[in-house]
Amino acid sequence: MFFPFIFNFGLVVPDENQRQLYEDFEREAVPHMDALYNFALKMTGDSDEADDLVQETYLKAFRFFDKFEKGTNCKAWLFRIMKNTYINKYRKETKEPDKVDYEDVENFYENVKPSSTDSAHLEKDIYDNLLDDELSEAINSLPDDFKTVVILCDIEGFTYEEIADFIDVPVGTVRSRLHRARKMLFTKLQKYASERGYISKDEK
């Protein structure tokens, strides 16, 4: 071979691996942008910071996309990167966890027991009439710890293990928070349904 290395630098040969990597990233990671942005907004509480957080997350993710294990949960991987980015850069002060009195939650819910709840109140049709905004508002009004697990589990479809990894708590805590969060949501939804006349106030 005659000096092929001298001229190789001048060849514009597409790097097939890089092109493939970009296409894979576009297909696997980019569709989760709404989910990440939605959660970033919850974490930062500010649209500009959410923009920056998601942007930085995607740039990092792309840089390390060749390390992403194909076939595993790409959304969970992106959320992990976003959490680390958030902790390292955006959370300048350690946020005091919401003071939630778990006993209060439990006690409140105890008033809504099978004996005091008409079985008709458990029909999904009643709640189908509620507006999407009302449901979103009910979730957003939950204390942060509860809101996080509901969004990650019920909206984003993460497993308990993925959620535990994301929020740095044992799997048992994830289960417990979800259990309570749904109880709280149920009471909120019942209230909305009652206000809109889907459930009789007397029956509640």
Binding site: F7, V13, F25, A35, Y37, N38, K113, S136, D154, L178
Partner: protein, 276 residues
């Protein structure tokens, strides 16, 4: 049994088959467990179906995609590439072919007319490109999707509007015999403000002007322009391109790079803007 296991059951997190059966049995036979199951599964379903995510804004999506693609210098596969690569891979041809190419390139470079307008590959323009934005904004104006934020025919009023709206560079709003000023728009990207103004002619023709201080185009952070076009304008040239009854013109005026898009006669646009 801990009622939280019902939650895990609803979420399909119970892996142990016998525990699963035990929970199923409790749901079937115990009112409290059944109620717990109904509440947990009802709320889970409603939340999944009705929760409205806040979508990522379009500008963020575009910004991310634009930043990712150039970072990896994505080059779309070209048919010629395999030919050249094949040619170089053959030892018998590699040296001779390379020498011919190098000489050809040198000859082309030496014979090139420096004032030749650059060819802009419009299909490869990205949304942060001024060329792309100017054409899109003009189309939006024509289709009535972009209206002036300020309706004014006084150039000083328009310049004051630019300044008070946060445009950080000095702007130029010339007046012309053929067209009268219609109004102005200030756009925002990454916190920076950009000046746009529009003229209208007696026959209803529209002349749209988008001006950007050249420093923005050189830093590429927010808005970009092809390097070859920028150099061409730096040399004092006027870039004119016509297509489908529309003329697109670029001219550097003072420190500003001005993009003009219009459906007025090309000669008229050219005479007015290239001679400023």
């Amino acid at each position: 049994m801990n009622k939280e296991l019902i939650t895990a059951f609803v979420d399909n997190e119970i892996k142990d088959a016998s525990l699963k059966n035990e929970i199923k049995h409790l749901i079937d036979t115990d009112d409290e467990f059944r109620f717990e199951y109904q509440v947990q599964s009802l709320v889970k379903r409603i939340a999944k179906e009705k929760y409205k995510r806040t979508s990522a804004p379009e500008h963020l999506r575009i910004r991310i995609l634009n930043q990712i693609a150039p970072e990896q210098k994505i080059v779309k596969p070209q048919k010629e590439a395999s030919f050249w690569a094949g040619l170089f891979s053959k030892p018998a041809f590699s040296f001779a072919t390379a020498i011919i190419i190098v000489i050809s390139v040198i000859l082309i470079l030496f014979n090139r007319t420096p004032q030749q307008p650059p060819v802009i590959a419009e299909d490869k323009l990205t949304p942060d490109n001024m060329f792309y934005q100017a054409e899109n904004n003009f189309e939006a104006i024509i289709q009535g999707k972009l209206s002036p934020q300020l309706v004014a025919d006084n150039p000083d009023q328009i310049k004051s509007f630019f300044e008070s709206s946060g445009v950080k560079y000095s702007t130029l709003v010339p007046t012309f015999a053929e067209w009268s000023l219609l109004g102005a728009v200030v756009s925002e990207d990454k916190g920076e403000k950009f000046a746009h103004h529009v003229y209208t002619g007696k026959k209803g023709e529209i002349v749209y002007v988008f001006q950007v201080d050249e420093s923005y185009l050189k830093s590429h952070d927010i808005i970009s322009l092809d390097e070859s076009l920028l150099q061409y304008l730096e040399q004092g040239n006027c870039y004119v391109k016509t297509e489908n009854d529309k003329v697109l013109l670029f001219k550097k005026i003072g420190h500003n790079i001005c993009a003009v898009v219009s459906n007025a006669p090309t000669q008229e646009v050219q005479n007015n803007f290239c001679n400023i």
